[in-house]
Symmetry: C2
Subunit: 429 residues, 2 copies
Amino acid sequence: MSVRAGIVVTGTEVLTGRVFDRNGPWLSDRLLELGVDTAAIVVVGDRPEEILRALRFLAGEDCALIVTSGGLGPTADDLTAEVVGRFQDRPMVLDTALEGRIGEILRPLMARWPDLDQEALLASNRKQAVIPQGAFVLEPVGTAPGLVVAPAADGRRGPVVVVLPGPPRELQPMWSVAVSSPLVRGALAGAVDYRRSMLRLFGMPESAIAATLRAAVDAGIELERLEVTTCLRRGEVEVVTRYEPADASVYEELAALVRSRHADTLFSDDGTTVDEQVLAGLVSAGATIAVAESCTGGLLSARLTELPGSSEVMRGGLVVYSDEAKVALAGVGAEVIAACGAVSSEVAIALADGARGALGADVGVGVTGVAGPGGGSAAKPVGLVWLSVSCGDGRRLTRSVTLPGGRSDVRDRSTTVALHLVRRLLAGE
Amino acid sequence: MSVRAGIVVTGTEVLTGRVFDRNGPWLSDRLLELGVDTAAIVVVGDRPEEILRALRFLAGEDCALIVTSGGLGPTADDLTAEVVGRFQDRPMVLDTALEGRIGEILRPLMARWPDLDQEALLASNRKQAVIPQGAFVLEPVGTAPGLVVAPAADGRRGPVVVVLPGPPRELQPMWSVAVSSPLVRGALAGAVDYRRSMLRLFGMPESAIAATLRAAVDAGIELERLEVTTCLRRGEVEVVTRYEPADASVYEELAALVRSRHADTLFSDDGTTVDEQVLAGLVSAGATIAVAESCTGGLLSARLTELPGSSEVMRGGLVVYSDEAKVALAGVGAEVIAACGAVSSEVAIALADGARGALGADVGVGVTGVAGPGGGSAAKPVGLVWLSVSCGDGRRLTRSVTLPGGRSDVRDRSTTVALHLVRRLLAGE
């Protein structure tokens, strides 16, 4: 039986969809790296009774550790520390030394906004220094301290609770401190060192992997020794397999079968993303890239500049949203647009070449399509996107796709298709 | 006591952080519109026992309705329908008519990938037509049907369960069908028609709102009649208040107090976002906009083209990631970069003006900064961003900010600062 943990994400803003929860998945991923299974992520509002019941639900799921995120702010609806105190049977006490340290942190903030009521600010933040008695304090990265809280020492067994603030840039470094604390290390002792391997494929439906998994069983591969999950993500099929080190050879049999059945669509078996492969491919070719994009409106450039180090290869981009911009910036012939329409192979090709020319890059990418909701026609429906990738030696890949979903799906998925075209061009296809 | 609902999001890919859950928050928001409180969103893996225990936890939370997302795909790890059948004490049966309809849906897919094993595909998808006996079928938008499943008719009380597929573009239209079904309408009968109002502020810390809420209590405003939550989102403070219609006057007192204390930072009291305000402001001014951005790498252009209708005002953008591109495309003087550095007020101003000139727009935006993780110095640390907004009549707003967080935080937050500068320029500030 592996060691299990649970995650409680608090915050009415998360529960009602105004803020996406980045912490639950991030924490779950970190736990997995430690060999710890996440039993569940429970998102609840800022109501103390519901936070308490979520903690009890996870305790009933045999979690040795529970991590909470959020509810440590200065406002009265931030109640997590108090609820965890109740859960662990520990009274709340003011830690005056901690209060002083929070005061020091606030000083520059108060200097930045001198018009604010300074006394009120300090009072708001005093609340953050009231903690369950005996809790281990994780020093604040923002203004909110985190906590590691064990059950009260009355012989009661139960999970250790790690209490972290909601902002990811505070939570993430504080988690690193928490995992090295003796309480957390004790709770997680005995976790199995699982391995996790990932296969990524592009250009096929998820059903095809289901068929391959059945073929694996027919071929005698002991799939029951592996935990295989498949999903569609941004247009790619991901196959993630978790297994104990002793079963590595079973995984290798499965990976070999996938390689043989899906050689044309398997593009990653080492966890790398297409974004990383494109960046690495450009760096190793000593090549630069530039983009001229219409329907994606900057998203492709943003994706190409997302990874640190991208400035070595990314020259820049042209967001040619209007036809005039396509002509003026990317040098697309006005007569080409008039004859073929802005969404056409001709314009995609001209955009790719225009991007190369305008930015002096080795590789150019052109994207033009109908993102919707308006602008579609019978001949050129919403979701139709033309893409072209070219380099100076005359090699070029051009294709159209008709992407499902709404405006944001079409825009996002188009960037995935474009990156795969670049990857294929760099691979010499 | 209001009507409550619960949400179960299934999928190891969501639980382990490889895919962000968009469905839980979206469903919670839809439920809120119907006057239904979400008790919790529970994210679990693809293990049937854990899905079952999550359903039981939510039933214990007095949920009249439970909505599940995911686990309806063709692979063997997709088990939600079966688990819901067990939860509601209903045997699983093959719906042959439904199987036929799924077969029709698959036909074009099979034509698109003729190399796939057609028989295996059909077998994979037959599984999707095996449903709990007596369930109401929601017709597939993709290939997976949804379900509405009541407790078996043995007099047992309990929640109605709506079973939806994971892809948002399938889930969302199918939810609309589900809510109009008699079973769901019955489960949600008696929901209170809450109102929800939102105040958005920019340029102040969350603590300042905490102080205002205490001042409201001191001023005799009956805050206990309102459910107020505050949060920080993309650099803005959001204050969301939910209340019964009879308490609208209490909310108006609170809103008036916020207006008087935060007149300089309150920018929205009607739910509009800064993105919507900028788009509306440009449309009503009959003005066009263009962008030249460096550290944001396309994200600002992408944000300005995100809303439908943006093509009316957005001319396009220059992603001038390299210094050469700043000179060649945006007309920044090479000597200005040499003298002041690429991250400087002078370059931000030149980018704003250059964007206007290159794209023939009325309003230009320039953004240049150090997104990190490399490239920072003592004088220009990671997080320093210079922004400038200008229009043809000579009006201009230029400022620098030092943003906290990592590379993606700095990039994202910069787009928020830029939009607020445009908003202020359009408002004549």
